[in-house]
């Protein structure tokens, strides 16, 4: 069994699975139940000046029969008295000394920060997470993402916190910014010990079309909220990788957040540079119990790769995350349809016809019919292989990929409902020699795509 213990800024955590600062970490009782279930750490529901939360608070995005692809919330920081929260932090740390408790904080003035950091550390917090990410409500008061979007302010408050704190200071970044590197670098300049990202994405989750009020509804109105859940995972992975590659920030440990629902998601975050991962929506959906599978699955995965600890996985995919100009232009794949798995739904055909390069043919059509259907190139011979899966309707044929037109985009494989039916298979490339766009630019045969200089040159505005 691989060891899932991690060291985050010198803090030992039994595993990389932490609960994100959110409703699942609202109380000490919840967090103790979560630790009993197997969570390694918890970032406490953000502490700050008391507020009053509204009813209702959450809105969800379903996709087909899947609930909560995305979750949006308009809940703010804790609405329980600070002294109660600190008492519970003390209690949790006393009873679970080997588990990690991070205090999430959000206040305004230098004095406020000094005082709340002191109280959090006195209560026994292992680390502090400065919430510079919340994109609703608090930002209107100059906190949360209002700080995360202003690198100078972020840097300044980070510096205050680092000066005042005895424990590691983690800066939680907002994705609601043009370039995640800017707040990341500001945090590094301010002396942050670690980063966590992403916080929620500023969002309106939907509109009640009968009442003409956005969701979630508070009486006759609503407000923008923070979006999270599986739908935001790709945004989080991108921003995580930006920070993990950036020479100004890559030395900082990262706690990855954003749509992590299972061990596979966690492994992907770690492979792109995270040391710990934080989870909220999946727990709000299914409960703390999901961590058992996460720990088991991640450990087995490490075993299957011959890795003994998470440090071997950490960052393993960063090197293969490149700029477009560094990709091999000779690498070529073509779609291959397994006739023994095809069920004859023809979804690959329509996706290719309307969404790609018109290269998947339905057997049995004449040349003229194929052209009328929208194909630009019709192979001389389109074999009619019947769909052979047991129970297949009669008269169905396996669609045929025209290699001449297939550009290897993956779309057919993505829409095919049958796992493993369409595979993208590498074939010899057009030149037989690996080369990138950057190689061409260096050789003087092309210009750098998207560069300001090449754009200006094309418009005759630069020599």
């Amino acid at each position: 069994m691989a060891n899932l213990e991690v060291d985050f800024c010198g803090i030992k955590s039994p595993n990389p699975f932490w609960l994100a600062s959110a409703p699942p970490t609202n109380t000490g009782g919840q967090i103790m139940r979560a630790f009993d279930a197997g969570w390694g750490g918890a970032v406490w529901k953000t502490l700050g000046d008391p507020i009053t939360n509204v009813s209702s608070r959450f809105g969800g995005i379903d996709y087909a029969n899947t609930r909560l692809m995305g979750l949006n919330n308009i809940e703010l920081i804790t609405d329980r008295p600070l002294e109660v929260n600190f008492k519970e932090i003390y209690e949790v740390k006393k009873r679970y000394p080997k588990h990690v408790v991070v205090a999430s904080l959000m206040v305004e003035t230098r004095e406020n920060w000094r005082e709340i950091i002191q109280r959090a550390e006195d209560a026994g917090s292992d680390a502090l997470e400065l919430n510079f990410g919340c994109p609703h409500g608090m930002c209107e008061r100059g906190m949360g993402s209002a700080v995360g979007q202003e690198p100078k302010v972020l840097e300044e408050i980070t510096r205050w916190a680092v000066e005042d704190a005895k424990t590691p200071v983690i800066i939680k970044l907002t994705p609601n910014t043009g370039d995640i590197n800017e707040p990341g670098e500001a945090a590094a300049r301010g002396g942050a010990h670690a980063l966590s990202l992403i916080n929620t994405v500023k969002s309106i989750v939907g509109v009640d079309l009968d009442l003409m009020v956005p969701n979630p509804r508070v009486g006759g109105a609503s407000t923008n909220g923070g979006y999270c859940g599986p739908a935001v995972k790709p945004l989080a992975l991108f921003m995580l990788s930006q920070i993990a590659k950036n020479p100004m920030t890559r030395h900082l440990p990262i706690s990855g957040i954003g749509g992590i629902s299972n061990w596979r998601d966690a492994a992907e975050f770690i492979a792109l540079g995270a040391t710990t991962v934080q989870v909220c929506t999946a727990v709000m959906h299914y409960g703390y119990r999901i961590v058992e599978d996460m720990a088991e699955g991640l450990s087995d995965f490490l075993d299957s790769k011959g890795m003994t600890s998470l440090s071997q996985l950490r960052g393993a995919a960063i090197g293969a995350y490149r700029e477009w100009g560094e990709l091999d232009l000779d690498y070529t794949v073509k779609a291959r349809i397994d006739p023994n798995k095809c069920i004859g739904c023809n979804l690959c055909h329509v996706a290719c016809m309307d969404g790609a390069h018109q290269c998947i043919h339905i057997p049995g059509r004449s040349q003229a019919e194929s052209v009328a259907a929208g194909h630009y190139h019709v192979p001389e011979h389109i074999p009619a292989v019947p769909v052979t899966a047991a129970g297949a309707p009669a008269g169905r044929f396996v669609p045929v990929v025209d290699d001449h037109e297939c550009i290897g985009c993956n779309l057919c494989a993505l829409v095919c409902p049958v796992s493993g039916c369409i595979t993208m298979t590498q074939v010899p490339g057009p030149t037989g020699k690996s080369h990138t766009w950057n190689d061409r630019v260096a050789a003087g045969t092309d210009v750098n795509p998207g560069s300001m200089l090449s754009t200006l040159q094309k418009r005759g505005l630069a020599p």
Binding site: G344, C345, N346, A390, A392, R396
Partner: protein, 442 residues
């Protein structure tokens, strides 16, 4: 709008629970979301009326239920009853690609019922089909008020023609009202649907109006076109001793009684024997079992593999207690002192024929004979140019359903020899299309 007579209360069929209860909205959306929206989908090809099934299912999933009903009704005006009576396992559902994937196929019939029933509860059918054309002044007579004629009448009405439907029975709907297994659909639901269709335009039902050859000739003269949708005739008889008398029923007749006659009761303390191997035999056997008759035996003269009845219907009947007796021929109906049925003599069969000397007695109180129906197409033989084939079926052009008589079209069981409701509906649609073309309305 014409109010059609409803079947009276107190019928035996009211005791039946639906085999497939209607979906509520959440169930329908969940099932609809399972559909993968195939292209050139096999379910469409398997539907005799060619409903664009993946499209209507997607519309259910997006909660565009009226749109779903429009998609259905644009190909099949009787899409509501077809959703309930179609043998979907042998048609659209049987063709679903999920079968090839070893997954439970999409429940297309139940989704179609949800869409049509939900939409028609709030919206007249006229708002769910193409707009009606201006009145043409042309009049079409339709003989028989079964699904072929009802479908044809609806399309003719949308084309601006007047449709007058004659039926010798007091209740309209033909087998769709009087012959469907009650756990699929009860008669008044088919009659309700007829009212929806009739309201599409100028459609009138003349019920209790039998049409004989002389009347038919008159109608051909008086109307601009005539559609023959007279279905099949009386149940065929076994031709064995003891058959005639109380306790022995033709299967179609028996189903009609329990669906329409409140005074009718099934009294079979010693069980029932159903003779036949088709879907009518399976239906009546299943119905008798559900009604509580113990020992319902289905006697078929060949083996299971040779049965024309659907395997899924046989399975369902057996689950409810029907016993299948293969290679068995009923050679005599035995009666007691008061003429009551006491049993049947059954012979073992080889190749469908009784083997002499193998008979035994099976006690029973009721015999239902489901070995086919006679033909009534002699009605049309007097019309010049109308042909009837050697099997008693009216001969039509397959694409237009026009007979050899320029003013006469035909469709449904009297043409196809006895198929599904949905086949009759499609044939009525094709005929109506060609009638409108012939009348210059389309």
């Amino acid at each position: 709008m014409q109010n059609l007579p409803r079947l009276p209360d107190g019928r035996l069929e009211e005791r039946f629970e639906p085999a497939k209860p209607p979906y509520d909205a959440a169930e329908a959306i969940t099932e609809a979301n399972r559909c993968i929206y195939c292209v050139d989908a096999p379910c469409i090809r398997a539907c005799p009326t060619g409903i664009d099934i993946p499209t209507f299912i997607r519309k259910i999933a997006t909660e565009n239920v009226k749109g779903a009903a429009r998609t259905i009704l644009s190909e099949n005006l009787l899409g509501y009853s077809c959703s309930r009576v179609c043998p979907v396992e042998a048609l659209c559902v049987g063709a679903c690609v999920y079968n090839a994937w070893e997954r439970s196929p999409i429940q297309i019939g139940r989704l179609q019922r949800f869409a049509t029933e939900t939409a028609l509860a709030t919206t007249p059918m006229s708002a769910l089909v193409r707009p009606r054309k201006a009145a043409t002044g042309k009049r079409v007579a339709l003989i028989g008020a079964g699904p072929a004629s009802v479908a044809a009448a609806g399309w003719l009405a949308l084309d601006g023609h007047t449709a007058v439907v004659f039926d010798r029975k007091a209740f309209g709907g033909g087998l769709n009202a009087l012959g469907i297994a009650p756990y699929k659909m009860q008669g008044n639901d088919a009659i309700q649907e007829m009212e929806w269709v009739a309201a599409l335009g100028d459609v009138r039902f003349e019920l209790g109006q039998g049409v004989d050859a002389a009347r038919l000739a008159q109608l051909v003269d008086d109307f601009d076109a005539v559609f023959i949708g007279i279905g099949l005739g009386a149940d065929s008889a076994l031709g064995v001793p003891g058959e005639h008398g109380p306790g022995v029923y033709g299967a179609v007749d028996l189903v009609e009684r329990l669906k329409s006659d409140p005074s009718f009761a099934v009294d079979a303390p010693h069980g029932a024997v159903v003779v036949g191997g088709g879907n009518t035999a399976l239906d009546i056997a299943h119905e008798l079992a559900v009604l509580g008759v113990t020992e319902v035996t289905l006697a078929y003269r060949r083996g299971r593999a040779a049965m024309s009845g659907y395997a899924h219907e046989l399975d369902a009947a057996r689950k409810d207690g029907v016993r299948l007796l293969e290679d068995a021929v009923v050679t005599e109906v035995q009666r007691g002192a008061d003429g009551e049925v006491t049993g049947v003599r059954v012979a073992r069969a080889e190749g469908g024929r009784a083997v002499a000397g193998t008979e035994w007695t099976l006690a029973t109180s009721l015999v239902a004979v489901a070995i086919g129906q006679g033909r009534v197409t002699s009605l049309v033989e007097g019309l010049a140019g109308v042909q009837v084939d050697s099997k008693g079926r009216v001969v039509v052009d397959a694409a237009t359903h026009r007979t050899g008589h320029p003013k006469v079209w035909s469709g449904g069981d009297c043409v196809n020899g006895g198929k599904e409701v949905v086949n009759a509906v499609q044939e009525g649609k094709l005929a109506a299309r060609d009638i409108s073309r012939a009348l210059g309305g389309a």
